[in-house]
């Protein structure tokens, strides 16, 4: 907070620092049966940075989408300057001075930087055409302010991810926003770029702009926050002023009563035998940049072990798991399952050999939305359930019912549509689908993403039970609490490499975080200096 004192003074002089600009009153949001927000009251003040904390699925992004007009609340309303407002679209919110930098990049990769910056609010010539000259000049100005040397005529697709994020930020700056929402603005930025962003934030504060800041890099957000609020399971659970805000308090509030069952680590798994062996695996980045997302990774997972791949966003965890499952091709290296090389097999053949993936994005890669719980559960094993040429439906039903009870899926029955289930129960179906195939190695990518605390604990209990039966579990997470509680061993990944291996019984949160986020630690020092 040291650097911010200089900026606070003029803001106080404007007597605007305590003005609430935007207020959310009793905001609730449901997606199908999922309750993303449960009646949240929240306010942001001019010339202040309000930092939002919370685990994935806690409801932060949903609230920001409602405040910026992307989504409409199921209940509750917004007040702008004390006046009740309803944003029918992102344009209506923008017209009232609310800008958002999205977590996912919302750029058209085929258009140039300039066209993206002015998309939907093009500058016009007197004849009504686009005033490209003026747009180019303004674009250059914006990019110069962000200290980024990008030609506005370049197509966005030719920029690296960090530069694309800069363009996204520049776009928000292009409008004269009174409220600036920054949802994970730094996920792809380099340390110096983050410093530039922080300078911009201080400038904006000086101009009376209210800023909402969300980041997975907790230290970074604590650094910049004037006010802090913590979300958990769709509710606002705690607030704190920026003064005296500390990491342990934030983490404790974020986790709340989350109780991830401990894994019994007293056994020596190497005696049981290595189930999955990975040697020098390299995977190219899917963005086509030619970089390696996974850069020479080697490790073993034994039967009965629950191994965690811990790392921040972009560390290469997802790419590694997708490579092991057969979706991504390994550039080099070997993958063997119980001593048999599986690196050249298809996803289908790998599942048949006993290695399957529970993907990170449940909606995109996990469930078959138009089908029932039963069809989703039996999808992987369906071919084994038939007496050629027809299916044995009685057998299928028995197995599905067994799967539902084994995975403790809360559903009205196998015929219930999968989308009628809560996120946690959908996830249990996706896991159950693989478990029914009797795998030897189960890979899970962020298995508890976007599900409530109770379901989280239950999923880890299920994994424990499977591991007790000899299943080797490898799961990826960016949530340190889960890594430390659920795993028998933690492999810390950073920039495509396994940088260290940690015994969760002896490690603490800080050392693991430091190993995973080396760059973040460096940044923190740079900011403080």
């Amino acid at each position: 907070m040291i650097a911010e004192h200089g900026c606070d003074a003029p803001a106080v002089a404007l007597a605007a620092s305590d003005d609430v600009v935007l207020r959310a009153v009793g905001i609730a949001k449901h997606y199908g049966v999922t309750q993303a927000l449960k009646g949240v009251d929240f306010e942001v003040r001019a010339s202040k940075v309000t930092a939002l904390f919370g685990e994935n699925g806690a409801g932060k992004s949903t609230l920001m989408k409602i405040m910026s007009g992307v989504e409409r609340p199921t209940a509750g309303h917004l007040e702008l300057d004390g006046e009740i407002v309803e944003f029918g679209s992102i344009n209506e919110a923008a017209a009232r001075g609310i800008a958002i930098i999205h977590q996912e990049l919302n750029l058209c990769p085929n258009l140039s930087v300039r066209d993206n910056l002015f998309l939907g609010r093009e500058l016009r010539t007197p004849l009504g055409g686009v005033d490209y000259a003026r747009e180019t000049a303004v674009a250059k100005e914006l990019l110069a302010r962000l200290e980024e040397d990008i030609d506005p005529a370049r197509p966005v697709s030719s920029l690296r991810l960090g530069q694309q994020q800069i363009v996204e930020i520049a776009r928000a700056l292009a409008g004269d926003a009174r409220v600036m929402i920054m949802d994970e603005p730094t996920s792809a930025l380099s340390a110096t770029e983050v410093l530039v962003l922080f300078r911009i934030i201080r400038e904006l504060k000086g101009n009376g702009v209210a800023i909402i800041y969300i980041s997975h890099h907790l230290e970074e957000a604590i650094q910049i926050a004037d006010d802090a609020v913590v979300f958990r399971d769709g509710a606002l659970v705690a607030t704190h002023s920026g003064e005296g805000l500390e990491l342990p308090w934030v983490v404790a509030q974020m986790l709340g009563g989350a109780e991830i069952p401990d894994r019994d680590v007293s056994r020596l798994f190497t005696e049981v035998g290595v189930a999955l062996s990975v040697r020098d695996v390299e995977v190219a980045d899917t963005d086509g940049s030619g970089r390696l997302a996974v850069d020479g990774v080697s490790f073993d997972v034994c039967a009965g072990e629950i191994v965690c791949l811990f790392g921040l966003m972009g560390a290469g965890r997802t790419e590694l798991l997708e490579c092991l499952a057969g979706r991504l091709r390994a550039e080099s290296g070997t993958i063997s399952l119980n001593g048999e090389a599986v690196g050249s097999l298809s996803i289908r053949d790998r599942i048949a050999r006993g290695i399957g993936l529970v993907p990170e994005d449940r909606q995109r890669d996990g469930i078959v939305q138009l089908q029932s719980v039963g069809v989703n559960l039996s999808l992987t094993t369906i071919a084994a359930l038939h007496v050629p040429p027809l299916l044995n439906r009685a057998d299928e039903r028995d197995r599905v019912l067994a799967g539902i009870s084994e995975m403790r899926v809360k559903t009205s029955g196998p015929e219930a549509p999968i989308v009628s289930l809560s996120g946690g129960n959908q996830q249990k179906v996706v896991i159950g689908k693989m478990v029914l195939a009797a795998p030897k190695v189960l890979l899970l990518d962020e298995p508890t993403r976007g599900i409530d605390v109770g379901a989280k604990a239950e999923i880890y209990r299920l994994l424990n039970a499977q591991a007790d039966n000899g299943l080797a579990v490898l799961f990826a997470t960016s949530e340190i609490g889960e890594a430390l509680s659920a795993a028998t061993r933690i492999l810390v990944m950073r920039k495509g490499k396994v940088v260290t291996e940690v015994d969760p019984a002896q490690a603490d949160r800080d050392s693991v975080m430091a190993a995973a986020g080396g760059a973040a630690g460096d940044l923190l020092e740079a900011v403080l200096a």
Partner: protein, 374 residues
Amino acid sequence: MTLEVGGVARRPRVNLNALLIEGRAFLALVLAVVIFSLLSPHFLTGDNLILMTRHVAINATVAIGLLMVILNGGIDLSVGSIVGLSGVVSGYLLQGWNIPFTDRTAYLPVWAVVIVSLIVGASIGLVNGFLIARLKIAPFIATLGMLYVARGLALVITNGVTFNDLRGEPQLGNTGFVRYLASRPLGIPMPIWVMGAFAIIFSLLLNRTPFGRWLYATGSNERAAELSGVPVRRVKIWVYVFSGICAAAVGMLLAADLPAATPRGGEFYELNAIAAVVMGGAALSGGRGTVRGTLIGAFLIGFLVDGLVLVGVSVFWQQVIKGAVIILAVAVDQAQQTLHRHRAGAKAVRAASGGPPDPPDRAVTIQQQKVTVT
């Protein structure tokens, strides 16, 4: 609540939504029959019903094949051309070949002609599937291309003319093409039998085999299906092969019926078939649709067109009405889907505001959390 295995009814409840979607097209069909039979005394006669159903059968058989493709989330524009090509191939084979340096001519038996024509249809489908599944060409483009290629091949084979003699020579043993394919077992024309057979076979395929399950899953969420071990590319190739086989069967029925094999046969059949599939409640985005629905859609279009002819509506207005009905059917379908989603959402809100969600499971002891924050 947690499901109790013993307490679950064996028979699933009827899916109300699916019933409504299909039921709506069925109601429209009943409505069309009632209106036309009031307007024309000839509409509801046995002969006219059989005549109309024979027309329907031609479209329905193409549509059943196309349904496979649409369930996969694809589209097959080449079916009309395959109809033409298959007819022409049978016609060509029935003419026989002159063996060089002799005055003899070689003939294939009729069963072989039928099989070769089906293989030709399947092969065009295989090419479609290969282009789409392996070379990742968009289904619209790949099958648009094959629409021209197959039609062009039909023209090349015949040099643009029509084969008029499909009856074969008794002394050569290749008669029967017309006799069998244009016959009326039990008074029912052959196309209706073929439609029935294909409907049963593809219903079983969709509902009672792993392939059917894979097809519905791939059409709804291909990425999830692939990660679940579904052979998505194989499924994708096979649906175009099935579509090609159905179209080839229709090509022969059409040629035997005339009896003549014209290279222009089956033009625009793809459009009628798409209309039937979509009116039967299938989603063009894939994953939703049934053989039963497609049959109802085909009957609705067929009866509508023939009924309009019967009551003397001008050919020009027939087109307008047919197009309007197709759009109306899909618009109602969309509205119903939206309504259904809204209702599901509202139900969820009521349920969520009810009691506390997910009561903790007491059977499992929650262990002490290891991480303590100081």
